[in-house]
């Protein structure tokens, strides 16, 4: 499916044609370029974006995904298939910019095939010039949903500050070609290979009436 986008009134909207690759890959056939700089987003917005990827595919170095809750390219690694990899999911869900170290927020259409500059190793050991940093500890009182747990080789997003009773967490992650991208119960918090990482610059939740101090208002997540 090819699409051409009309330039809108939003600043920095990029008009794009279908991204092409040298073979008839799923990405080459269906994905397109659409992205824009935006104001800071809330953690809830990031989570809503990430959860669209639930039940979609996994592609190392990806990616691009639709919202049909099916694997459009099953068991086909390295083939320009559907889905993000773990660090690509975090890059897009955190609305990171494509420029190394750039602050600010950038919205990437889920159908734009982009991974970003940051691999899991970068999330695990961020330098001070990056728009995310390691948290001082992994206590539950410290982490907030849409923080990440990262190790050399993998990264996933804390989906909710609620947690199963065993000390685990509900983690939104791109977990592999077979199990795909979804919410899983994980024990990364108590695994010494993982650190907790926080994206910088979150917007506070808009509200009326009595408002919370920070952007940590959390709604219960209904799983479709």
């Amino acid at each position: 499916m090819k699409r051409m986008l009309i330039v809108g009134a939003v600043a920095c909207l990029v008009v794009g044609s279908v991204s092409t690759v040298g073979w008839a890959s799923w990405v080459g056939t269906y994905c397109f370029t659409e992205n824009a700089s935006v104001s800071a987003i809330t953690r809830n917005t990031a989570r809503a974006y990430a959860e669209i990827a639930a039940r979609e595919g996994y592609e190392w170095g990806g990616g691009c995904w639709n919202d049909n809750a099916r694997d459009d390219t099953p068991n086909a690694p390295d083939s320009g298939g559907e889905g993000p990899d773990c660090s690509g999911l975090v890059f897009k869900s955190w609305y990171l910019k494509r420029t190394w170290g750039a602050s600010g927020f950038h919205r990437w259409n889920k159908m734009q095939n982009i991974h970003g500059y940051y691999a899991s190793d970068t999330f695990h050991a961020p330098t001070s010039d990056l728009p995310f940093h390691k948290l001082p500890n992994k206590y539950r009182s410290t982490t907030v949903f849409m923080d990440a747990f990262a190790k050399n080789g993998h990264v996933g997003l804390l989906d909710t500050s609620a947690y199963p009773s065993s000390g685990g967490d509900y983690v939104m992650e791109a977990k592999g070609d077979t199990v795909g991208t979804n919410i899983f119960i994980e024990n990364y918090r108590s695994d010494s290979a993982y650190v907790a990482v926080r994206r910088e610059g979150w917007a506070t939740q808009a509200c009326t009436g009595t408002c919370p101090k920070a952007d940590v208002t959390e709604e219960t997540i209904a799983v479709p």
């Binding site: 992994k138 909710t160 009773s165 000390g167 977990k175 199990v179 979804n182 695994d191 650190v195 219960t220």
Partner: protein, 317 residues
């Protein structure tokens, strides 16, 4: 107070069996290709049958593999799925001489039992009609018990605790005071903070609560230094009058974690006998996908499953 000392090596367990990885039927499935998965796909669980044989949840090969007490291959039950659109196996346990397999799909639990012809019979346990999140299974005097972590259609919401499903397709979870022991009492485990646990013993004599505080120490230039810590704890194995708790410990601060690492410990408690607190051996293959590490044998022996480069190691003590 229990102290995890990183300078103390793991206790030596008795090696019961090594089951190699590979494509042959007697071998177990393993996927480590980082283009396929950032986390190795390893067997997720195992259980020791009343006859002492070993059943291993071989998810890569979509089966429940059966081995003798010495690791000799005996066969397998197939019919499981391992893809993102189907419930995939998470845990296996024997309860009342019957095998139960727990499957999960988008955190929603499904229970699998087996017909006389080894056909898979799937039922979905519910609580007040809602799908549920179950983490691990436990034997129960009737039906099967499980670690219940709320409703699957509203992640993070709902009751928590140990629940029994009898029959497996029950529409209401029957909450228990804890993991049931075959002798009658039950033991419950709750984490009240990153380092504090509460063990609740419920029996005919009443209820007793035992708080446990975990601390982590490391050797720094010949002196013992305490490190801020986070711990994950799960009751995994259920013996006659005891439970074996799997404890994963990490320094809370990233610099400490990088310098000292963390470790795995066994906490064994019961209605009688001494408390056991010892460090567990680990393998070279990261085991994030493994849901169960400890299982109890019919003789009360505790078994440990560890993925290593040479194969899946089954230890006993």
């Amino acid at each position: 107070m229990l102290t995890a000392d990183l300078s103390v090596p793991p206790r030596t367990w008795t090696l019961v069996a090594i089951i190699p990885w590979g494509d042959a039927s007697e071998q177990l499935g393993l996927v480590t290709d980082v283009h396929r998965t950032p986390i190795p796909y390893v067997p997720r669980s195992f259980t020791i049958a009343p006859d002492g044989t070993i059943w291993i949840l071989d998810v890569v090969k979509r089966r429940l593999a059966h081995y003798g007490a010495d690791g000799t291959y005996l066969g397998a039950i197939g019919g499981f799925r391992f893809d993102r659109f189907s419930p995939r196996p998470r845990d296996v346990v024997f309860s009342n001489d019957r095998i139960y397999v727990l499957e999960e799909h988008s955190v929603t639990a499904t229970l699998v039992t087996f017909g006389a012809d080894r056909s898979l019979q799937r039922t979905q346990p519910l609580d007040h009609g809602r799908p549920v999140v179950l983490e691990l299974l436990y034997p129960s005097p009737t039906g099967v018990a499980a670690r219940f972590d709320g409703w699957a259609d509203e992640v993070g919401a709902g009751p928590r605790g140990i629940a029994r499903f009898d029959p497996p397709g029950s529409t209401f979870a029957q909450f228990l005071p804890g993991v049931p022991l075959s002798t009658g009492p039950s033991i419950a485990l709750e984490a009240s903070s990153d380092t504090d646990l509460e063990l609740t013993f419920t029996g005919t004599a009443g209820v007793a609560v035992r708080p446990v505080h975990l601390r982590l120490v490391a050797d720094v230039e010949g002196r013992q230094r305490e490190l801020p810590v986070v711990a994950g704890v799960k009751i995994e194995a259920v013996g006659v009058d005891r439970v074996a708790i799997f404890v994963q410990i990490s320094p809370a601060h990233p610099d400490d974690a990088e310098r000292f690492g963390g470790g795995l410990w066994l906490l064994e408690v019961g209605t009688s006998g001494p408390l056991v607190w010892e460090r567990l051996p680990e393998g070279e293959i990261s085991n994030e996908e493994q849901a169960r590490h400890l299982a109890a044998g019919p003789d009360g022996r505790i078994y440990l499953m560890v993925p290593t480069k040479e194969g899946e190691r089954i230890y006993g003590r």
